[in-house]
Symmetry: C2
């Protein structure tokens, strides 16, 4: 019988985790709920960084060197845009442009983002189901002493150097989650939260009305993989962003971010000392290597996460394929 | 004193002629009035094939091998668009995309096509003034037994294999010529019609209300270079298109297309036998080599055209720079 494994994901940590997962689980069993809070209008095109990365990783063409965009990429258009006096701080490759042109065209033709994403995924041979967190535009805004920045302005243009005063998800109150997302969470055999930034990768998904409630109500085990190891994020600005939410930068802080719906937390061996303390809060805790520095480690973490979710229920972790 | 040389142009013949001209005349003295009847919405971008070619040739980056697009081009986005299931019969290179993205963005921001064209030209170091024939959309439509085709559908997609029943310039009646165009024609020291297709390259320009009248009324000499040599076009579908207008496919047919405003016709030595016959209609006729198969021949034709216009008036053909 086919299983349904639902993954909430965003950012480079999420893409790496999904890279492991696709080698362990038949793609047909995977449903990815993807952050779109980073989406931006770039050169007039609708760019959706996390949808792009997840689509590319499932198509087997994500650049492993960069962690974003496609392999064997060139940047000739970008170089010419610089001559044209256009902004170039957000780097779009020549092959990558086809993604943004196609998405923009499909949206202009009246398709929803969910439909456009599915259409592109099919074209690239992706068998998993990729669901944007919402068809409406919810934009992550980072409040800094410089003023309000979009996520990519904060992250790429300013290289996350600014103090973070607050994080907003503009428009989130007014949107609806797609029925596909609510159904997937309800019917899942396991829900996994990728080791993504809890504030700006998973946070926007949880800000869509209905999704957090669905996670609380699902009968499925909900398991998260901590992006925090030894009191610091593996990469990126998760630390300062978690602090902006009043959460400790620790596996405990991750548990706190997801406290109302989390069953299982997968943490790194480095944090084994606090496992018992976390267990006393009612959480199931699994220790493993969570630093994905090789393809083997990605696969191993995916297996460990599936095992952790499986051992917490009577759900079959073994591959059905 | 700076001269003002106005050139009506379109197509690959026009681009080759302008390539010669820019080597003979300081760019500051050149005003190009460019066909935009071939403009198309391609992948959601505003592509203007003749504006692009003229801009590229004046920037010194037009591909001489292809006659369109830029030198040292790659087509990685196009290849990916094919995977995406998008149409790829109109070939857009990666560097060329920057032109279309920038134009589309400038237009979306509320700029006129004239303004957007000028902005892009400045960025690419072009000193000549490039004026689209109109800021409004006039679309060349080719009526064939298959139905109505856009020019690029007829020319590129169908490789001009279809019989031509008629040629329409959709929207032409309602548009206004830009004041810059009317002033340039009025104040020109010389007006040159490039050896472009008289029907679908020069024809759309002449269909814009006011331009034909301005050519009739200007005190400047108006000189055309015939794109027809020995009863046939050098390349492309000018023959069948001229026939569709009831014009002979000959230098005489070219003279007929421009009869109401033309002072001077530059024809190829091959057609020297009919020069006297043409002169009897009141036209001044100059014979030279009009086939531009090398850079030297382009320069020589530009000089010959300038000399022909000059000798018909007291206007200085010598370079002022």
């Amino acid at each position: 019988m086919r299983r349904l494994i639902v993954v909430l994901t965003g950012g480079t940590g999420g893409a790496k985790f999904v890279d492991g997962l696709r080698q362990v689980v038949p793609q047909e069993e995977l449903t990815l709920i993807v952050n779109t809070g980073d989406d931006l209008d770039w050169w007039g095109l609708w760019v959706s960084p996390d949808l792009d990365s997840i689509t590319y990783v499932l198509a087997g063409v994500l650049s492993k060197e960069r962690g974003w965009g496609v392999t064997e990429e060139t940047f000739h258009c970008l170089q010419t845009m610089r001559r044209m006096g256009q902004p170039t701080w957000f780097q779009v490759g020549d092959r990558d442009l086809a993604m943004h042109l196609t998405r923009t065209k499909l949206l202009a033709e009246g398709n929803t983002l969910t439909r456009a994403t599915a259409e592109i995924a099919v074209r690239l041979g992706v068998k998993a189901r990729i669901l944007p967190m919402s068809d409406a535009h919810v934009e992550t805004r980072i409040l800094t002493p410089l003023g309000e920045l979009s996520f990519e302005e904060y992250f790429v243009k300013r290289r996350f150097q600014d103090p973070v005063e607050a994080v907003l998800f503009a428009g989130a109150e007014e949107v609806d989650p797609s029925p596909e997302i609510l159904r997937a969470i309800r019917e899942a055999n396991a829900v996994l939260l990728a080791p993504s930034n809890p504030v700006t990768s998973i946070g926007p998904i949880l800000a869509v009305p209905g999704i957090r409630e669905a996670l609380r109500e699902t009968k499925s085990i909900v398991a998260a993989i901590s992006p925090i190891v030894g009191g610091a994020p593996i990469t990126g600005p998760a630390g300062v962003l978690m602090e902006s939410q009043g959460w400790p930068v620790s596996v405990g802080g991750v548990a706190q971010a997801y406290r109302d719906f989390l069953d299982v937390l997968v943490i790194d061996h480095h944090d084994a000392a606090v496992a018992d303390e976390l267990r006393r809060t009612g959480l199931q805790v699994h220790c493993t290597n969570t630093i994905m520095s090789s393809s083997e480690e990605k696969v191993a973490l995916a297996r460990a996460a599936l095992d952790a979710a499986s051992s917490a229920s009577n759900w079959p972790a073994a591959e059905s394929a």
